[in-house]
Assembly symmetry: C2
Homo-oligomer: 317 residues x 2
């Protein structure tokens, strides 16, 4: 009986100025998927750990399940059957790309199980189908970086065009997940459909500046460019204490701080691990000042994407 | 009697996707300014060559004159007097940054004449004042690249933040100026004040892709990113035969083709000089098919910005 266990990283989408086009992966948290091949065809979710029973067990409605199903249909291997164990290791609805990490881990695992018939980049459309189930649209700004690692630009959706950008060695991300919940669909619903040309120009300047800053690299330019005049001013109202948490990050040396994905998690980028830790502590304290507890994750930008882990007995059920 | 003669390059602003934030300089055409110090204070335009009498001779209304005046006021040297000869070497109102080149040449020349009290980047605000006189607003997407050379991002106007981006060696620009005229103020007036969020996202993707493509470098990515869904569809109607000229450029191997600044000139970028020449020929033929004659300029991206030339006797009057 063949078993593959895969970890896929959490991701920060949007990254301040890059709504729907930027995302980066982190070393932790992330989700794990264990796939075990069996004789009968079909994809069966046999267990989900860590979701407090909130995620659908039906494969066609589960992000990992649908990604695996779409993959098997595409390569013409609907004869294959797998049991799926999904080990959620991060909060749901957190803005940390939880559904993307599960979908990526699932599709990466099935590709491994079958001897890698597809290259990693070619797995993207199937992971995006997982996003469609979870979020209502097939976005790539979480699945892209979770699958490819690093900082990713979704240059175009039609046709799909995903580009990986180098990031400065040593740059660390701070993620703070406050123990409140924001529905991704609501977070999208409150956005205006029109943007002033003036703000479009400002945002384009920051998009260009952030890419140039990451590639040169130039920390000051990265910092000046981590500014969002379009989305953050609208969505920040969904996060209690947003201004204070952001200010705490900046006061403690962060290059920038904004909403991770559609929130409520917030992220900061810092020039090194020490600053990133200090920034995280200050952000948590700012949430705590209004009695909101939170989880803190500090890591480098993940450059690897998904990775195959040794199967462990305590994940089987 | 001290004399300085300076050349400043023409520029392509916007560069398809980067409205108001991108610009690059070319080796030719460009404008020349000759400054001669004299005893009495004040800035006097003693001659303008090549403008068919159309530019204002009053220093306070001339882009080079006002740039020099603002510079002298800033450094507290209103005791200095200069005679200015402006040699226009490109068509006016062409979208090739004619007013910017004159302003840059003027302010660069006065700084040379006085022994470089300011660094080159610090000359930018005075050149922008020249743009304010010419265009009604102090834009930097022509004066930035004309002054600094290369490909420039105006990340922010407030505060002014101008970044230079490396471009691939060998990449050539083709500029075609059709013998028709578009008023820059009109070209701005027809733009909508609002942009759909959808188009903002598409444009941001191309902005990010173009910067990444130039810096990696990656010609295919540059080509895929030279797309403008916001400005070009509106302004193209001001240029007869726009679609045919653009198609001719692409059919002949250009990486991309769009409007230079606010037009009517069009630019293309190509991977080498040979393609750039062929592209130019095809673009000119497409204009000629509706009896529009044009001027063609092919050159590398100018990396130097303004340069001091030997004074020549035939420029004095």
């Amino acid at each position: 009986m063949e078993t593959v266990r895969v970890f896929a990283p959490a991701t920060v989408a949007n990254v301040a100025c890059g709504f729907d086009i930027f995302g980066f992966a982190v070393d932790q948290p992330g989700d794990e998927v264990v796939l075990t091949r069996r004789d009968e065809p079909g994809v069966t979710i046999v267990a989900i750990l860590g979701d407090e029973g909130r995620l659908p067990r039906e494969a066609a409605r589960n992000t990992a399940g649908i990604a695996i199903q779409k993959y098997l249909e595409h390569i013409g291997r609907t004869d294959v059957g797998v049991d799926v164990i999904l080990h959620k290791q991060m909060p749901l609805g957190s803005g940390l790309g939880s559904s993307a990490a599960s979908a990526v881990a699932g599709v990466y695992a099935i590709n491994e199980l079958l001897g890698r018939p597809l290259s990693t980049i070619d797995l993207l459309p199937f992971a995006m189908e997982g996003e469609r189930v979870a979020c209502g649209s097939a976005h790539a700004d979480n699945v892209g970086p979770s699958l490819l690692g690093g900082f990713v630009v979704v240059r175009s959706y039609n046709p799909l065009d995903v580009i990986r950008i180098d990031t400065p060695t040593g740059m660390h991300a701070t993620l703070v997940h406050p123990d409140i919940e924001v529905n991704t669909k609501d977070a999208r619903f409150i956005l205006r459909n029109e943007v002033s040309l003036k703000n479009t120009i400002i945002q384009m300047g920051n998009v260009a500046g952030l890419i140039a800053g990451l590639m040169k690299p130039d920390y000051s330019l990265i910092s000046r460019s981590l500014v969002d005049v379009i989305i953050e001013p609208v969505r920040a109202i969904l996060i209690p204490q947003f201004d204070e948490v952001k200010q705490a990050a900046l006061d403690n040396g962060a290059l920038g701080c904004s909403i991770s994905g559609s929130g409520p998690s917030m992220f900061a980028l810092s020039a090194n691990a020490e600053i990133a830790q200090q920034v995280g502590k200050a952000m948590q304290e700012a949430f705590l000042s209004v009695d909101i507890t939170s989880e803190l994750y500090v890591s480098e930008i993940n450059s690897q994407g998904p990775k195959v882990l040794e199967p462990v007995s305590n994940l089987t059920v």
